[in-house]
């Protein structure tokens, strides 16, 4: 059994580029998980202890507590997503490994080993590989967590943020992930022994291969040289892998770019059509009968609850009776919105919860429930805020229409709590960077992962064509012709798959971002534009070009060294 393990693990290690990429994946997954948890676990424990002892936290601590909670949700989602992707890759890699090594495995079975013995040896190799990868990730995560901790310290102005991890997290990040990958490997091997050992040794299938779906599909397209595509797509699992890789690349890239730009978008919306210097708020309701005589905007603000299907949201309800050059609500077309009877939405409710003009919102204000229709949606509404006419809100609060508890102004008022516009934006900015620091880092790793996946899928696809390439060479085709016939279709295919799966990628990425936004309670507007798509296409083709060039060099070396027969023989 030891020799069997030795043989299989050495044979796995021989697949250097594949193993390196898979190893990087495990390191990335582990790193992402641990770098976040090293900066969370101990602090989460400390804050919980403070909560238990004192019953409450300071304002900064409370914000930090929420951020820690959000980061835990984020990293859980990202880890699950990354592990799912990795499991698919591992499954395909192991299937391919078993298929390519069928002769030797058949030979091993002929010596009296069981199929189970082979699978266990592969599982054991996976376990070693995964444990080493997760430990490397753990060490890197330990050091990497300092970045997130420093960001948190600067953001929340909390001293005494400490690095630490709890045992449960440690076990999940190392043993549980390893167990999952072992199960995947085990599943790959099931059914290996269904084939007769003699057929495995001869690397033969019981039935002659029949042209299938791909051939039928290619035949239907009005393209020149259909045979090129039939050869390229002859291995359905490799084609599927390319599709998976492209979809993952799309999702990761769109998500990453969107997350990166969502912060900028928020700042943009929070500064649009605002020209006031001070936001003055009062603890009590004030009255001013000359409100309409000034440029200042007098508003009423009250916290209320929006009841959605299966969800309740704490929201600010702001009553306005007019807007001015100091603050103007605008719609998607940058057209000013008039304050009229009904609710003016903010983008979060529209994007994350699907509310739209004409819908009725169930609102609880001052203990009373109201059903109010949506009359408009303002792209530059304050975060966590909806607007209704001031008179309507005053009625709900049993105040007269001249009451207010806040003013937007350019004058320095002496009474009330004054927040400058700059401070308000700085606070939003602080919240954005802190809450999304780990998300952005993780998404960057996600992008690298997507790129690695493309590299891997393309390499597998091209490797599967190695035999055909060498046969073409022996038939007298020159390098350029061979590349044209067997390598270029891959590049075309990958671009076709990119465009076909782009809507899926965008849809899924948007879904993930909305889900994360809802779970964390932070609005993250989904951002995509033509520049993003062009950028993605550029990176994708750059990767393709790179892999193609590397592969072409490899083929050239084989041909120059006249080693074609070595790669062509079945045995």
């Amino acid at each position: 059994m030891i020799l069997l393990f030795k043989y299989l693990s050495r044979d796995l290690i021989k697949k250097k580029s594949m193993i390196s990429v898979l190893f990087l994946f495990t390191v990335f997954i582990s790193f992402m998980y641990f770098f976040v948890h090293f900066s969370i676990d101990k602090n989460w424990l400390i804050l919980n202890e403070i909560l238990e002892q004192n019953g409450n936290l300071s304002a900064d601590e409370a914000k930090y507590y929420t951020a820690l909670q959000n980061n835990q949700i984020l990293i859980r989602n990202i880890t699950v997503a990354m592990m799912s992707i990795f499991s698919i890759i591992l499954f395909m890699f192991m299937k391919n490994f078993i298929h390519k090594n069928e002769t030797n495995i058949g030979h091993i079975l002929s010596m009296g080993f069981l199929e189970h013995d082979v699978i266990i040896a592969l599982v054991f190799a996976t376990a070693c590989f995964s444990i080493i990868g997760s430990l490397v990730g753990l060490v890197l995560g330990y050091f990497g967590s300092s970045i997130l901790m420093n960001a948190n310290m600067e953001t929340y102005l909390i001293n005494g943020i400490v690095k630490g991890i709890n045992i449960k997290t440690l076990l999940i990040g190392t043993l549980l992930t390893t167990a999952v990958f072992c199960v995947v490997t085990y599943a790959t091997g099931i059914g290996m022994g269904r084939k007769d050992v003699a057929l495995m040794i001869k690397h033969m299938d019981k039935k002659e291969p029949h042209p299938g779906l791909i051939e039928a599909l290619v035949s239907r397209f009005p393209i020149k040289d259909k045979f090129k595509f039939k050869l390229t797509m002859k291995n359905i699992s490799a084609v599927l892998f390319i599709v998976v890789a492209v979809v993952t690349f799309n999702i990761m890239f769109v998500l990453s770019v969107s997350l990166f730009f969502s912060g900028k978008k928020i700042i943009e919306t929070q500064t649009t059509n605002r020209d006031y210097s001070y936001d003055v708020s009062y603890n009590n309701y004030m009255t001013n009968n000359n409100q309409s005589e000034t440029e200042d905007i007098y508003y009423l603000k009250e916290e209320g609850t929006i009841e959605l299907e299966g969800d309740t949201l704490q929201y600010n309800i702001v009553g306005l009776d007019h807007t001015s050059s100091l603050f103007q609500l605008v719609d998607k077309n940058n057209k000013a919105i008039n304050i009229e009877e009904g609710i003016i939405l903010n983008p979060e409710l529209e994007e994350n919860y699907g509310l739209k003009v004409g819908d009725e919102i169930h609102l609880i204000v001052a203990g009373e429930a109201y059903a109010i229709p949506v009359v408009a949606s303002a792209v530059n509404a304050d975060l966590k805020t909806i607007y209704i006419p001031k008179q309507q809100l005053a009625k709900m609060l049993s105040q007269n229409s001249m009451s207010y508890n806040g003013v937007l102004t350019n004058r320095r008022l002496e009474d009330g709590v004054v927040t400058t516009f700059e401070d308000k934006i700085a606070t939003i900015q602080r919240g954005l960077t802190s809450n999304k620091a780990s998300a952005v880092i993780n998404q960057s790793i996600g992008v690298i992962t997507g790129c690695l996946l493309i590299y891997l899928a393309l390499l597998i696809g091209l490797n599967n064509n190695m035999k055909s390439i060498l046969i073409f060479d022996l038939l007298g085709y020159n390098n350029r012709e061979v590349n044209k016939v067997l390598l270029n279709p891959h590049m075309i295919l990958i671009n076709i798959f990119f465009w076909i799966t782009l809507p899926i990628g965008v849809y899924v990425a948007r879904g993930i971002q909305i889900m994360t936004s809802i779970q964390t309670g932070d609005y993250m507007p989904f951002q995509i534009n033509i520049v993003t798509v062009a950028y993605m296409l550029f990176i994708l083709n750059l990767l393709c070009f790179l892999v193609r060039a590397l592969f072409a060099i490899k083929i050239k070396h084989i041909i120059y060294a006249e080693r074609q027969a070595e790669f062509l023989q079945e045995w």
């Binding site: 030979h107 010596m111 080993f113 003699a198």
Partner: protein
């Protein structure tokens, strides 16, 4: 026939539901013989060897090993049979490339108690000096001798050789055949050898000739040729 080791009853093998490779073959093999299965390419000799040796399931029929129907054994029992009683030598050596010669031989033995000494066996096969080398450092003949050692290290009752000299030159082929005969003498191993080479068949105790999946001739060789005197003209 008290010494029956292997018996095939009406074995048939077909692929794709229509392509018959073996048709209703009956066969009885006694222990301690060197049996040559002779036939042209596509005659069904390898298929017959594979069915007899448990690595290919027949479409119908039964194979008995020491009276036990081995076509109905569980996977575990088949593995145990292969582990203890059956050795294989294939045409294309099939050494595990990442293991040394010594490890390649050792992997063939999973028995706890084994009376065959590795050094002595390697001495017999002339590969003692190669034990720490890797397969890529060996010639074809050396690789095949290592494969024979791997098959024999567990002291199997039967050694199945599928065109074991098919990839070798005449000198190496002759050597291998000589060694197999020596092994039969030394350990009493039953050897079943498929070949298309009539000279090799002449050295066997019994010759089975196959054509189109059927045994057309089955006879005890009355004029056994000593392997040293084989004329290697194919």
């Amino acid at each position: 026939m008290n010494n029956v080791l292997l018996e095939a009853k009406s074995i048939t093998k077909k692929y794709d539901d229509t392509r018959y490779v073996l048709k209703e073959v009956d066969l009885v093999i006694e222990g301690g013989q060197f049996i040559a299965i002779l036939g042209h390419s596509g005659s069904g000799k390898s298929t017959m060897l594979n069915v007899l040796s448990t690595i290919l399931k027949p479409t119908s029929g039964q194979v008995f090993y020491k009276g036990k129907d081995i076509t109905r054994l569980s996977k575990r029992d088949i593995a145990s049979l292969r582990r203890d009683d059956i050795g294989f030598v294939f045409q294309h050596y099939l050494m595990l490339p990442n293991l040394t010669v010594r490890e390649n031989i050792q992997i063939g033995n999973q028995k706890e108690n084994n009376d065959i000494d590795l050094e002595k066996l390697c001495d017999l096969l002339g590969i003692n000096q190669l034990l720490e080398r890797y397969p890529y450092q060996l010639s074809g003949g050396e690789q095949q001798r290592v494969c024979i050692a791997r098959a024999l290290i567990k002291n199997p009752a039967i050694l199945f050789c599928d065109e074991a000299t098919g990839a070798l030159d005449s000198d190496n082929s002759k050597n291998i055949i000589c060694m197999l005969h020596n092994i039969k003498k030394e350990y009493g191993t039953t050897i079943i050898f498929t070949t298309h080479n009539k000279e090799i068949a002449k050295t066997a105790d019994r010759i089975l000739q196959l054509e189109d999946g059927q045994i057309i001739e089955d006879y005890m060789n009355q004029q056994i040729l000593s392997p040293e005197h084989m004329k290697w003209e194919i």
